[in-house]
Each structure stands twice: as structure tokens, then as C-alpha cells.
């Protein structure tokens, strides 16, 4: 599956098409929606590193996404910390949190892993809810401005979009490098057969933890982009529905394909946006849930996964 990423021509075509769409995105949809799509895209890529390439389903990834968003906005809005420093601290928060949560969660596998990450994410949610003095409770933390980076004002949505896109591209590139490295091969071996990986002498817990921290940190980066892009971080970001959302995006696009989750995020966010303009209003989950249910029942490879899959292989599975 991993070899199909860049190795085949089809994979390269998919990547190129996605990049073209990403470059033109602010012309296609509202710029802020475009920022959301790319931020969620990076979030989904980070998540896919864990689910698709390591075989761990985290149902609490919102804790890194929303948590880092909180840290960044709180530091900027309440403590007047300079923008770049706040961002670095926020990402560091996600990394440390991922280290702690990962160390606890990797004690169990499969479905237990999912439930433990979910419960730990809820723990942070309750703290965010109770510490209303810092997090603003139901109102969240608002930023008056996005600040500046290297002397460029980020107030302009288009300029900010391309900054986000650059960061997301870099993050995606990193994930591709990790996945195609010897380290990534060990992750894949653990996913396919953990006992065998242990027998081969790999300390699987250490590999899992490293993958978890990488994924959580990158999710934190994405969360900071999202929070700064919207000038807001709130309880939504750390809620378990957000954890579920990134799971849906990744699987809809196709796990283990790197680009699939980005496409999934794009499809999910734009569909969600357009459905919310119809009579259903904010009950978009009726539609999104149905699509996801169909995806789980009928095409578990996801959209991009199906595109990349070999036709002969598909007939067999």
C-alpha cells in the first residue's frame, strides 16, 4: 500500500491534481473555508500517520488540535506573548501532551486504545470547560488579529491561506518522508503483525510512542493554523465530535494513502458547508453520518484509496 504513494504514476497524478486544486482553492470557495480545509487536511494527514501507517485508531485527536489552538490563542490574547513564540509553545504543548497520553494509551490495543484516547481527550475537555477564566468557557478565546510573520501581515485571508498551505505542504512532506523511511517500514510491520515485529527485536512500544507523538504534534500544528485562521478557539475544538470528524475525513479519503485524508478533509468540509445552506441547516451530520456509514460498509479504502487500488486486487477483496 505504501509503495503506491509516489511509486506509481497514478499516485503522482493524484498528488499533482490535489496540489493544483489546493493552489486554486481560495478562488473556488470562501478563503476562510479554504483555510479550514487545509488545516483539517493537515490534521487528517497527522491522524493517518497513526491509523493508516501504524494501525492505531485514536479517538481523541481533538485534544492536540483543540488544545494547541487554545494554548496559542490564550498566550496571544491573554498573556501578550509574541506570535511566533506563542505558536512554538502551543506546538510544544501538543507534543508533551501526546507524550503523556501516548505513554498511557499504548498499554492497550485496538478498540481499547480508541476508548482510552477518547476518555483522556474528554478529560482535557472538562478542564477546558471548568477553567473558563482562561478558556472563556462556552465563548472560547478570540484573537483581535492574526499577527504578523516575518514582517508579513497575516490579516489578508488570501495571504494567510498560502502561508497555511505552505505549512501543510511541509507537514505532509514530512509524513511522506517518515512513512517511506526505515522507521516507517517498522511502523508498517507493527500494523501488519505486531507479534512478528516483536519477534524481530523491535521495541514496538517505543515505535508506537514516537509515532503517536509525531502525529499529535502535527495535529497541534494544524490546530494552531485553524485557531489563528479563525481568530478563535473554543470548546468545539476539543470536543469528541471533532475527534470523530478527523476519523471520518481520513477514512472517507482513504487511510494509508497520505493524500487521501487531505482530499477527504476537502470533500468533507465543502460538503458540510453546502449542506448547511440547505433546509437541513446545522444538522449536517445527518448527511455526513450517512456518507460515512456507507463508506464504512461499502468502500473501506476511501475515495483516493479506491482510485489508487489496483483493479485486479480490488476484484479479489
Amino acid at each position: 500500500m505504501t509503495a503506491a504513494l509516489f511509486g506509481t504514476r497514478r499516485g503522482a497524478i493524484v498528488a499533482a491534481v490535489l496540489l493544483l486544486i489546493a493552489l486554486a482553492l481560495p478562488k473556488l470557495v470562501y478563503p476562510v473555508l479554504a483555510i479550514d480545509i487545509i488545516a483539517y487536511g493537515l490534521f487528517a494527514v497527522a491522524f493517518d500517520l497513526l491509523l493508516g501507517f501504524t494501525g492505531l485508531l485514536s479517538f481523541g485527536h481533538a485534544m492536540f488540535w483543540g488544545g494547541a489552538g487554545y494554548v496559542a490563542t490564550i498566550l496571544i490574547a491573554k498573556a501578550n506573548v509574541p506570535f511566533p513564540l506563542a505558536v512554538i509553545l502551543a506546538i510544544a504543548y501538543a507534543a508533551v501532551l501526546a507524550l503523556i497520553v501516548g505513554a498511557i494509551a499504548i498499554r492497550r490495543q485496538g478498540i481499547y486504545f480508541a476508548m482510552i484516547t477518547l476518555a483522556l481527550a474528554q478529560l482535557q475537555y472538562f478542564f477546558a470547560y471548568q477553567l473558563g477564566g482562561w478558556t472563556g468557557g462556552e465563548n472560547g478565546v478570540q484573537l483581535s488579529s492574526r499577527g504578523t510573520l516575518f514582517g508579513i501581515a497575516l490579516e489578508n485571508d488570501i495571504a494567510f491561506y498560502y502561508a497555511v498551505l505552505a505549512v501543510a505542504a511541509l507537514g505532509t512532506y514530512l509524513v511522506v518522508r517518515v512513512v517511506r523511511s526505515p522507521f516507517g517500514a517498522v511502523l508498517g510491520a507493527m500494523r501488519e503483525n505486531e507479534q512478528r515485529a516483536i519477534a524481530l527485536g523491535f521495541r514496538v512500544d517505543r515505535y508506537k510512542l514516537i509515532a503517536f507523538v509525531m502525529s499529535g504534534t502535527l495535529a497541534g500544528v494544524a490546530g494552531v493554523l485553524f485557531a489563528v485562521g479563525n481568530r478563535l478557539s473554543g470548546l468545539d475544538g476539543v470536543d469528541w465530535h471533532t475527534s470523530g470528524k478527523v476519523v471520518m475525513m481520513s477514512i472517507l479519503g482513504g487511510i494509508g494513502t497520505v493524500f487521501g485524508p487531505i482530499a477527504g478533509a476537502g470533500i468533507f468540509e465543502s460538503l458540510d458547508f453546502f449542506v448547511s445552506k440547505t433546509a437541513i441547516g446545522d444538522k449536517t451530520n445527518i448527511v455526513m453520518g450517512t456518507i460515512f456509514a456507507l463508506c464504512v460498509l461499502l468502500f473501506r479504502r476511501g475515495i483516493i484509496g479506491e482510485l489508487l487500488a489496483d483493479r485486479t486486487k480490488r476484484a479479489k477483496t
Partner: protein, 270 residues
Amino acid sequence: MALGLSVIFGMLRIVNFAHGAMFMLGAFVAYYGFQLVHMPFYAAIIVAPLIVAAFGLAIEVLFLRRLYRLDPLYGLLFTFALVLIIEDSMRLVAGSVGSPYETPAGLDFAVNIGFALFPAYRLFAIGFAMVVCLVVWLILERTPLGARIRAATEAPVLVRALGIDTQLLVSLTFAAGVALAALGGVLAAPIQNVEPTMGDKIIINTFAIVVIGGLGSIGGSVITGFALGLLQTLGAVIFPAFNDTLIFMLMIIVLLIRPSGLFGAPASAK
């Protein structure tokens, strides 16, 4: 609640995210039953679980059945999708604002339990839940049907070879688990508001209870459930602000000391 989840997981190896949604549906059936046909509470306690169980059965037969041979994670994901659909559908039908459900006649007074006044209905709900738990436990442990269900879980192929319809057992078990969730919803309706998100608040707690007690261990999840209920009641008095986090703290401690849960068999299986 935890009992239903534990039964379903233990038997089917499918973690049912939609359990909270079934809980909510149970409360709504009771609510609409009262609004539309003045169905009394004591009838709702029987009718609502049956209706919701039928709904659960339909889902099992139509969809979940296809997912058993796959990784249990797909079951989890499918039920998560169900939660989203059911919850937003109910928001569409009933609106987001909660509606009160009247305390049933005959139980709308307070009892003096020595140190405080306690609503009689709550005592009734706790007692009723305990009786139901006991009955379920007895059925599973002491009857031929229970023995078959347990056998079907442990060695489905062998049980099928003995001429027992495991598929039917699985469906029935699922429906029973759903009925338990719906019953929990009906019991909770007079205590809290009936609203589409009422299942959310408890599903995560239930997960934590099951992780602490050990999945598939029915006795474990019941004991843990009641112990935690007690702990939370005390916690609400001692430090109310962080009461909600107590259960998760406990979960972390249990995981660190005994990763398979307090009553779970220390199995290495997924």
C-alpha cells in the same frame, strides 16, 4: 448502561458507540408516548425498550452483520456514524432544547434517608436498575440460554457445529443490549431533561466504566458502575468543579496498575 455495552461487546466484539443514542431514543419514546397517547411511565418502562430494541435489531440485521468478520474498529466507526445520524435527526424532529418529563405519579415525594432528603423516584430508579442488573446476570450465568450465549462468544464455530443458530443468538443479544440502554434512558427521563444530546454525556462515562471494570466482564462493569456512581455523588459534595474528571483520573490509575481493568481477564487479545 454499562451493562448493555458490556453485554454487546462481550458477545459480539463490537463496541457500540450508538449506545448513548439508544439511551436517548428510549427517553424520547417515553416522552412522545406520554405527549401523544398519554402512555404512563410504568408502561413506557416496558414499551420504550421494546420499540428501541426493534430498531436496534433492524440495524444489526441490515448493517452491523456485514462488519463482524472485519476488525472491530469498523463496528466502532459504523456506530459512530449512527450516533451522528440519530442525534441530528432527533435535533431536526424535536429541536435542540430539552423537554422535561414528569416524575411518575406515586413517586413524586421525597424520602428522609437519615442525613438528607432524597427524591423517592431516584431511589426507585436505583433499585430498579439493580434488580435489572441482577436479572441479566442471573440469565447469563444460570440459565441454558445464558450458557449458549457465553459459549457462542467464546467458540462460535464449535457452537455452530453443535447445531445452535449463533447468528440468531448474536442478534438477540444485540437487541437485549439495546433494550437495556433504552431502559436506562426511560429511567433517566424524569431525572434529567429529555434532549438529543443526553446520550453524549453518558456514553463517554460508560466507556470509562467499562475500561475500568474490564470489557466483557458483566459483574465487573456493574460493580464499577455503581461504585463510580457513588464516588461521583461524593465527589459532587467534596470538590464539585472537577467531579466530571474524577472518573477519568481513576481510569488512568487503573490502566497504569492493571491494564486489563479491575475485573477483566489479563488477556493479550485485542
